[in-house]
């Protein structure tokens, strides 16, 4: 019975803690290599400035990038970036999941997406989550 209880605890721990995952997918024939200019749309509920972190990382990667509240940029860009950040509480708040989509700047069609999920024990800073998500997206 003791073994059974331990096994049950182990299963529950595995369910609660889970594993970190990082995935990306691209639309058929989507080519991200020709993209040079980006605009990141801030999620209205985001008060942590994740859009600025994404824009900063894209600049670090060698792209031109701006960010703002408007759904479309003031001047045309090659790609528009959207994202969804999910947060959880475990001693402190941490970002458990980040999804980023790259849309065609002209048509709005989604060209590619990337997502990273990191449970509490494998948590990263928001900067780390942005870096990892853009990493899988542009790999």
């Amino acid at each position: 019975m003791k073994r059974l209880a331990h096994l049950a605890l182990l299963v529950a721990a595995a369910l609660l803690l889970g594993c970190a995952t990082a995935n990306s997918s691209r639309a058929p024939n989507a080519d991200l290599h020709h993209l040079k200019t980006f605009y990141v749309v801030r999620v209205p509920e985001d008060e942590r400035g994740i859009e600025k972190l994404i824009a900063k990382r894209l600049v670090t990667l060698g792209f031109q990038c701006t960010a703002g509240d408007a759904p479309t940029p003031a001047s045309p860009v090659d790609a528009i970036v959207t994202y969804q950040d999910r947060w959880m509480w475990d001693i402190t708040m941490y970002m458990i999941k980040l999804d980023i989509q790259v849309h065609d700047g002209a048509t709005g069609a989604i060209l590619a997406n990337g997502e990273v999920m990191r449970p509490s024990l494998q948590r990263k800073s928001p900067e780390g989550m942005v870096e990892e998500t853009l990493g899988v997206l542009f790999k």
Binding site: M1, K2, L4, A5, A8, L9, V11, A12, A14, L15, L16, G18, N23, S25, A27, P28, T82, Q84, R86, M88, I96, K97, D99, Q101, H103, T107, G108, A109, I110, L111, A112, N113
Partner: protein, 178 residues
């Protein structure tokens, strides 16, 4: 066999957790099929459907929409409305491709809203030209009363968002003159 107080105390929260959370089940194609739409100009040509960007469901994760399930729902929706003369697995005069680019699901909650975005392209295989393309966003909320278990509500919300998305696509396709 009698549980010791200590074992029972350890097992109880796990049992409650499993009862409340349950195991995720994959979305069902039949739940994502769009309602019949009025077709202005039915095509006498056939069409094939290809889907990418979907995900398989793992029992410990959230309900997902797989490529196969979404493709099946698209094929059945096209057949229901008679948009094309036939729907094939591959080949055909027209090729409809759908890329599931966004699937925004809540981690938890009573009412669960799923937001979805799919990029569709219809190409003429003879000319190899795109005749229609559209990025369609949809969402669906499964209220707390829809199901007791959270994973069940999430599946219902995901299927609802997928159905709404396909419904919009069918409405757009029905207006085309091919």
């Amino acid at each position: 066999m009698i549980l010791s107080k200590r074992s029972a105390a350890a097992a109880a929260p796990i049992a409650v957790f499993c009862l409340l959370v349950g195991c995720a089940t994959a979305t069902k194609p039949e739940a994502m099929v769009a309602d019949k739409v009025a077709v202005a100009h039915p095509s006498s040509s056939d069409v094939s459907v290809a889907v990418s960007g979907g995900k398989e469901t793992s029992s410990a994760g959230a309900s997902q929409v797989s490529n196969d399930a979404f493709a099946q729902a698209l094929r059945d929706s096209i057949k229901n409305s008679g948009l094309f003369s036939a729907v094939n697995a591959s080949g055909g005069r027209y090729k409809l491709t759908a890329f599931i680019g966004k699937m925004d699901q809540p981690m938890m909650g009573f009412s669960m809203t799923v937001k979805m975005e799919v990029s569709y392209t219809l190409a003429d295989s003879r000319s190899n030209q795109s005749v229609w393309s559209k990025n369609i966003a949809s969402e669906y909320t499964a209220k707390a009363s829809a199901a007791f278990a959270g994973v069940e509500r999430l599946r219902l919300a995901t299927e609802g968002a997928a159905k709404a998305n396909i419904q919009q696509a069918m409405t757009e396709l029905a207006a085309l003159q091919l």
